[in-house]
Symmetry: D2
Subunit: 378 residues, 4 copies
Amino acid sequence: MGMVGGGLDAFIGAVHRRAAGFDNEIELVCGCFSQSPDKSKATGHALYLPEDRVYSSYEEMILREKELPEGERMDFISIVTPNHMHFPPAKMALENGFHVICDKPMTLNLAEAKELVGIVEKSGLVFGLTHNYTGYPMVKEARDMVRSGKLGKIRKVVVEYPQGWLSKYEEGNDYKQAIWRTDPSKSGAAGCMGDIGTHAENLAEYITGLQIEELCADLTTFVPGRLLDDDGNVLLRFQDGAKGVLHASQISNGEENSLKIYVYGELGGLEWHQMEPNTLKYKTQEGQRLIRPNVGDLSASAKAHWRMPSGHPEGFFEAFANLYRNFAFAVKAHMNGQQPDPVYDFPDVYDGVRGLAFIDTVIASSQDDTTKWTKFKE
Amino acid sequence: MGMVGGGLDAFIGAVHRRAAGFDNEIELVCGCFSQSPDKSKATGHALYLPEDRVYSSYEEMILREKELPEGERMDFISIVTPNHMHFPPAKMALENGFHVICDKPMTLNLAEAKELVGIVEKSGLVFGLTHNYTGYPMVKEARDMVRSGKLGKIRKVVVEYPQGWLSKYEEGNDYKQAIWRTDPSKSGAAGCMGDIGTHAENLAEYITGLQIEELCADLTTFVPGRLLDDDGNVLLRFQDGAKGVLHASQISNGEENSLKIYVYGELGGLEWHQMEPNTLKYKTQEGQRLIRPNVGDLSASAKAHWRMPSGHPEGFFEAFANLYRNFAFAVKAHMNGQQPDPVYDFPDVYDGVRGLAFIDTVIASSQDDTTKWTKFKE
Amino acid sequence: MGMVGGGLDAFIGAVHRRAAGFDNEIELVCGCFSQSPDKSKATGHALYLPEDRVYSSYEEMILREKELPEGERMDFISIVTPNHMHFPPAKMALENGFHVICDKPMTLNLAEAKELVGIVEKSGLVFGLTHNYTGYPMVKEARDMVRSGKLGKIRKVVVEYPQGWLSKYEEGNDYKQAIWRTDPSKSGAAGCMGDIGTHAENLAEYITGLQIEELCADLTTFVPGRLLDDDGNVLLRFQDGAKGVLHASQISNGEENSLKIYVYGELGGLEWHQMEPNTLKYKTQEGQRLIRPNVGDLSASAKAHWRMPSGHPEGFFEAFANLYRNFAFAVKAHMNGQQPDPVYDFPDVYDGVRGLAFIDTVIASSQDDTTKWTKFKE
Amino acid sequence: MGMVGGGLDAFIGAVHRRAAGFDNEIELVCGCFSQSPDKSKATGHALYLPEDRVYSSYEEMILREKELPEGERMDFISIVTPNHMHFPPAKMALENGFHVICDKPMTLNLAEAKELVGIVEKSGLVFGLTHNYTGYPMVKEARDMVRSGKLGKIRKVVVEYPQGWLSKYEEGNDYKQAIWRTDPSKSGAAGCMGDIGTHAENLAEYITGLQIEELCADLTTFVPGRLLDDDGNVLLRFQDGAKGVLHASQISNGEENSLKIYVYGELGGLEWHQMEPNTLKYKTQEGQRLIRPNVGDLSASAKAHWRMPSGHPEGFFEAFANLYRNFAFAVKAHMNGQQPDPVYDFPDVYDGVRGLAFIDTVIASSQDDTTKWTKFKE
């Protein structure tokens, strides 16, 4: 694996590296960790990489690695830069024969996302998108329960993602994470809705298998001076008549990272909280069951994404690692000319398009106070 | 107290009777418990009432009680009939000098509600409305925290009220509670939104002190054959720029009575769940505190609505009893020509108008797919 | 009902009155509320009792009421005095033909308790003991699950009752509840173990149906100057080889009233918390179910002790009221020469003896540092 | 790092490898993974180790690695074999100049443990013991709160560790984890008490800083045919007058891995659950606070053991990784002739002795039904 972005002072780069290394399937062999060659070198040094595998630009990395013999050169790149720097290295890597795993949202805008679909399809290579919350075993179980009909026809979905860390004007405080996430040139057209609203959208579609067809959004920028939305409330209409609510926020004061989803069907309901990820609540009119990893009879998918005996909590890193491992399995299968095993799934380029389309749709809806329902763009 | 409605096979009548009697301030002295004189008599008998205080109609009760000497006759009536039978006895009682406490929604429609305001104001009598969830001590504390500025300016409110008991066509099963609640002639123009959506609306306005100004609603009838909405999702815009989401449902399969509210301001957030009513979560970026009855420093209002040492759970009946006790205090104050103590508050006729206006507004909004924001009617 | 004790400044008297009146089966008709005739009168006045039914002593009450005609006179007495004043009025009431319901621990010591058994048996009258925690519907369900074999043979019981309200020397602060509870002449030989340890003991024996056979106790008085134990840890050995732990405390700083019980058998386990009394956790190696009142298939006993639809929390008062209602049913049955219905059970004089024997046994064990296992006295 | 034990079919070996690699401070360079050379080779192959670094015995590994040049040879060994095979490789490694990190309990018996102290002290090398539950950041915070006096003088400790996985005779089911853990020749004198009771003991002493001075134990073997205890209840007496209860079980049916601890002092109390490890409850008579990683003002120690923004759950692996990282820091410091930074602490050989002494003491106490209090051996 070669990494683009993820210098020492970045947050998400270290997450990706730990996730990639967790199951001993992936080795970091090279990187271009920063636009500053000095920072890139310093990061490579701290990561015990040989100096000649630390590059000054992603272009250099892709071209130089391509010249290395197979087995020695990187097999894929991991892109962990701010959003505006996702598309260029992804495109170049794919066009030079490297698989790609990329942070979300996939690109800066929907046009890039659609273009990337064509590039991926043309390349025949593996493309992964780190909508990491789908990596939790209880999310896998939830999806399986919907698929297997345990909930019956889905009627209602509530997905919420409140955070409070941007309750003040943090971008004025030299707080790097706040600065780029609230800067339209780096983050894209949406703030909160792009950063975490897309996770909520992806999770809802992943678990239910239903696509949002139209929506009605009310986005707000509460903090004076901020350039992008920091809160949004959205009514959802899914395929097949299911209704829903999605709300996400970075100004829900005192909330940490409280992604939750509730799914109700004709036969039963499900509830899952990211901050207590190892419990899936399954409710029917007969009572409530707590579904837990490695307890009782679970789906093959839930089992394949858990490592420990029950009661030994796995968390954010392990879910993230599940995506990397599954991506690595797909890369291996590709190398061996095999089909990947569907139990080891991960979000892909089409999920990425849905995410950018979601961003475009909520912004269009929110800006138009005369139209109630805006069709999901795509 | 004289009761209108609440025969032996009714559900809410017994709740009101227990709530009224709980603090030894109110005695049931007469009633007209059913449209069937036989049922009314049987109920009166079971309640150990003398036969001559059990009436065949509310009209008879009001006229006959009026003739009794003060001190012996009832001081007020409690109306616990289905919604269409709220306004007529309320009007007649007030016009004959009796105070009134009434179940919610206050009337069958907004026109009646507005008329009732005039009648109450003209009478100078006490009118109480049993939006019982405002009777919980931790709801009082939440309101006090908002008022005292602990949360700063309010930015966002999420209030949700999922139930699952109407997930099937229960009104076809000779299930009395389901039958009248889904019958427009008895329940009014809204089903779920009238029955529980109004509780959510009332709770949000009560705690925040902010009124909803406009909204965008998407109501649904999921169960085939049902005549009224059984689910609804609503975007809210409050006074002073606060935004919100309200969703309520009777088809959220497996949910019991899961009213929850989240309020976020510039300085902190609050979370309260009706099913665990004795914990109020107070969150700031410094951490989370669990506020509990009779623990630490609480508002006068919270203290005035709790009876036990901490850790001895009070619940639905005790909150309901708080409303009756406070109403009784106001009636007493009226009798004595005094002002009621504001710490012993209860919902009134103006809350009732807000509820009916909410129903009208969400229905109007939901029926109009071309208008995004519908002004709150009133 | 006539009440002994429970003056206006007492805590538990009002609880008993609310509990007694809750289901409209019991009416307070007279009382001797304090050793001070003035206080007794003031209490009677506040309770709207006629003056001639407020007495200066329990002796006077029993004798004068006995002369009243049946139907007018009280049917039973409720004893809510400090522990040392339980036995005398109970004895006199029974010997004069009145049924008795009494607070716990039943008497000041084991000798009195045993004597009371003889008096009750000789009288043929109904005797109830307010071990109120057995009145919760989920406790009934737990007992039923054990009885019906769902847990298999019981192996282990953990029952804990931490409170923190006596973490300081509150008895020096003119705090009435603290003063008598830490005074051996009023409370008996044990402090914490008598006040709440007996509740824990009773709950464990009630749910499991197993009696403690021997125990090993370590009681402590942590607060300087205190005259009785304020904390205790006990190893338990039950009939049939079950083992257990009981610990109770009044110095567990920050705990409110956190009675919990865990029961494990060969086939499954149960967990119940008094502070969240409407959830019973049922655990097996296949997973965990949350059992809730009025949800799904419950025992007749659980159903008979719940009044509301699911999700409307009942609490301490309702559980307490269940005891009074059941006691009232037994009194009625006695009056009518019928057998009481076993589904409406309540603790009795034999439970009271177990409680006093428990107190004696833990004190004996704790005082003897050379004997490991002390047989349960009785 | 060179590993002893941890073949592909073992459970804990993979845990140690993931934990060791998590923070990019430690690289697995060699191993002897099984007593079977074939299994050892297969494991080494699966881990992408070069063949010449996979050994047939720990003796071979130690001797051969010692001959390699510094920088190439392993710096320390990690011992993850069953208990009876801890001491021999630890001793040989230390005597040959290698640091050691070892699974718990440290040795098969107390005599070995004491001998190991001498060996470690003589060697001057770093010795780590993987009592992994001390690696959680909220456990660090708890210890810091006690140390800094926030709880005042400690009065009571309750530590409990129920599991249910050995509720049946699993050792008869070809279940490897069950077989060796219930075999005295491999597990030592205690079953449940050695496997998890020692974790509970270690956690209690770690957080409180108080040593157990005497105890009274009641161990039981509930499952017929089992050779070691599968349940135990213990009364504790700590230094300075603190009292406590410890109970652990492998037959608490339906429990997963439910280690919990409650600590009460003169000023406040703490509660922590391993299965929800990112919340530390801090209770005083003024109320309850939820302390969470990366929220508000935390100790340096808590901060040093958390990697993510708040609300991104870390779990078992991350806590385990904290031990390995801290051990690696100590090894580095040793190499550099520096003192290790005390904020990066980990359990050591003296904790190991406490664990073995605890096992000996509870067994001695349990076997002697005539002695109430058994002094803690050491």
